[in-house]
Amino acid sequence: MQLETISSISTPVGEGAIAIVRLSGIDAVEIADTLYKGAGPLSSVDSHTINYGHIVDPETGESVEEVMAAVMRAPKTYTREDIVEINCHGGIHTVNRVLQLTLKHGARMAEPGEFTKRAFLNGRIDLSQAEGVMDFIRSKTTEASKVANQQMQGRLKTYVESLRQSILNILAQVEVNIDYPEYDDVEEATTSFLLEEAGKVEKEIEKLLKSSSQGKILREGLSTVIVGKPNVGKSSLLNYFIQDNKAIVTDVAGTTRDILEEYVNVNGIPLKLVDTAGIRDTDDIVEKIGVERSRQALIQAELILYVVNNNESLTDEDIEILDSVSDQKVIVIVNKLDLETKFDTEDLGRRYPDMPVVGTSIINSTGVDELEDRIAELFFEGSIQSTDSTYVSNNRHIGLLEDAKRAITDAIESAEMDVPVDIIQIDLVKTWELLGEVIGEDVSEQLIDQLFSQFCLGK
């Protein structure tokens, strides 16, 4: 039996160089095709083939990731439904984006253990394993809710709660007009009233979604690349970050002390230092930049720390690289301040007026505090508390918020077309329910409770 399409990241987060977004269900191929650009559409390829292509955000046209997409049609698949597995390699950030795109374009976030459940329900897994399947669902759920609960503490929860409360007030006003049409103590909720209120809600949800990218930084680390010519002090900088007790243990097993990635905590922001060209192995970085792989890593980096030597002047090679990354977030570190100044900082400022410049002597630990402040400023306009969680960082939550935004947009469109309030209400209620799911609230009786506490009704 083919059910609605579900999607999730099916590889352990943070482990391995490749991560897979798996879609299963009746529209799996169709949804993948809205995002996939390759030699041809996936709907036309043979079953059980793997296909090279790109995942492109259909709204912006931006290429998100270079992928291999495996297409497996029912029934010879794990779930006995159509399955598409999108193999990504660009780190957890891009994998998350690919997942979000599938959710935005018709897939639903898979419940914990749902692929296995479907495999069982569709007869793929034999009877003797049923008990194992049930335990698996339970343990996955417990795990997921623990994570979600941790993420749902503090300000984010309060924020969603207050947003829901304001929607509830609007809903109650509409409902009281409907169920008690003669009740005169409340203004008639008009379409223009709803239009205005729904607009406010939409803005708030957008704000939350925007914060989700910051949340990702907090959870998965800001991928950071240290670049520069030989002997400018890249290794010293790396060692400074690592040795100064800044290395952090992530909550994702297997990511700590990854040979390719080091996690460090800078003013509450976890940096994922990507050793793109093997800083520890070689100093011949400029030469390596010519290598395509390294160039890719540089382009995908969310933060570039470009190190130059205070004792040398800017070279053509520096300029070539800086030109190529000038639209990314770059901090130029003028190192070795302890040596004689030959570097022309003003010239650099003229060429790249938007790039922050920090002078350091890493060996003497001079200027490193300023560097850390600059990093924080660049991303959060100042230092943040690492325990703060005003950021939406959970994929399920982001999926729900995307749905909520779609519902409120529908409500607004209906209001613009001047449909009756009780029909606009349908999408308002949906928005409110989805936000309730974000914070895990039982919604069933709340509206009715609100109705009778807010208004004095009855015969």
Binding site: E4, E111, P112, G113, E114, K117, F120, L121, G123, L127, A130, E131, V133, M134, D135, I137, R138, T141, E175, N177, I178, D179, Y180, P181, E182, Y183, D184, D185, E188, S414, M417, D418, V419, P420, V421, D422, I423, I426, D442, S444, L447, I448, L451, F452, C456, L457, G458, K459
Partner: protein, 627 residues
Amino acid sequence: MTGNMKYDVVVIGAGHAGVEAGLASARKGLKTLMLTINLDNIAFMPCNPSVGGPAKGIVVREVDALGGQMAKVIDKTHIQMRMLNTGKGPAVRALRAQADKTLYQQEMKRVLEDEQNLDILQGMVDEIIVEGDVVKGVKTNIGTVYDAGAVIVTTGTFLRGEIILGDLKYSSGPNHQMPSVPLADQLKQLGFDIVRFKTGTPPRVNSDSIDYSKTEIQPGDDVPRAFSFETTEFIIDQLPCWLTYTSENTHRIINDNLHLSAMYSGNIVGTGPRYCPSIEDKVVRFNDKPRHQIFLEPEGRGTKEVYVQGLSTSMPENVQRDMLASVPGLENARMMRSGYAIEYDSLVPTQLWPSLETKKIENLFTAGQINGTSGYEEAAGQGLLAGVNAAAKLLGEEPLILSRSDAYIGVLIDDLVTKGTNEPYRLLTSRAEHRLLLRHDNADLRLTEKGHEIGLIGEARYDAFLVKKQNVEAEIDRLRNIRIKPNEKAQAVIESRGGTLLKDGILAFDLLKRPEMDYESIMEILEEDIKISKEEYEQAEIQTKYDGYIAKSLAQVEKMKRMENKKIPADIDYDAVHSLATEALDKLKKVKPLDIAQASRISGVNPADISILLVYIEQGNIKRVNA
């Protein structure tokens, strides 16, 4: 023992639930006995003289489409009818009638008397005879035993009823009738979970003593209205209601005498409904509100008694008099009956199957206030279903279970048996997640088919329904295929309605979707005479205008139906289901849901439990196939 009178079905009670239950059972061909404490109080309205309103009015139409009686009787006996929410969408429009209480009772009694398979008899049931957890009959207070295959209990507020008035509290049914106490004791002995609920009613005054010049008139609609899809004769001559307000003085009197109020003296233990608070409650809880609405509603054409809606109270009688005198227009009002609060026993409704049969005792059904609801319409809807299902059980037919997307009655019963209720339950439109589908205008399209299947809708009516359905569908189809060109005629009509002129051709169907356009204007553009009935084209218009939204609702229903199709085996042993959370386990064992959709609506049963349950059930199915 021989010599007992034998019936297929015995109905205890003849209120709004009882009469529908008795009629449905009898009309399904079963020999039915209806017992009531007082034959003069059949279909009595102990509280407000009105039928319908938001959600409730839709229930009345649903009862009609399923072959029930309430709609037809109120159509014949109302003093006023209004369509509510006309300024809003079609889904929330609803009819409400002011009833002539006495005529309503007389008309209903006559219908019962005319029913071939139905005997109505004055008598109080003291005991339900049960053998081995199966119902066998009833025994009255004077010792007569009636054998029965099934028994339907519709005791309303009579079950251990107690009236409370100030510091006075005494055993009584509604309107000071005899309460039913031994039966209440027996239901407890049988092991049912019982809760105590409370409701109340306001005083009545003599119309001659009201100064109407100080009130606002509330007339009925000019257009003729009816609940039943079969009604062809309309009442033209209507009586108005009147609107006035409490004064500061009313609130002062209430506050000064609060210590005398039963509600605040600790005299009342039952839980009252929030949507039907006493005036004491309103004044205390919303003390910043300077005044509350009071509607003056005539109780009928043949009486001068007027119901003072909004002044429900359990204050002592003399305080009630002072309160009345403080209301503009009622300064000299002569009270005819005082208001009171009433407490009564009701069953925790999660003890019922969705067919309204009790889980504990086979062939015992309950309907109406005993199931924790309030309202005449809610009672009628349940009564009808209980009558149909008691009969179906004896006839070996499948029970009629309406889903939440079929009818408000489905929402009502599902809420009761799945979630229970901790206050007297009233239907509200917001309880229905698919209210765009559950409109008053399409109640016949939703339910006539089912009414016909269960044998309560006759062939003539069914044929007429099929013609209507066909005409509506054909007309929508036609509109989907007519292209309107931007010619002079079309533009002129559109302009006259204040719409934007056409740039290109447009399907008639899509043009009708515009807010300013209606069916008549489309026909004007097409220069056609209207060939179908007003009801039919209004239906086509609604379905066209809200097509996109209806489709969205239907998609959600489709999703739910898939879950409804996953039945839970009746013999499931939840203790054997590995990994269920403890709370889910307890709730599932208690509610015993019939399918996965119902299970998922139980509070405390979360999606992981549902997944686990699905896997368990599927495992059982595989085993069965293999065995």
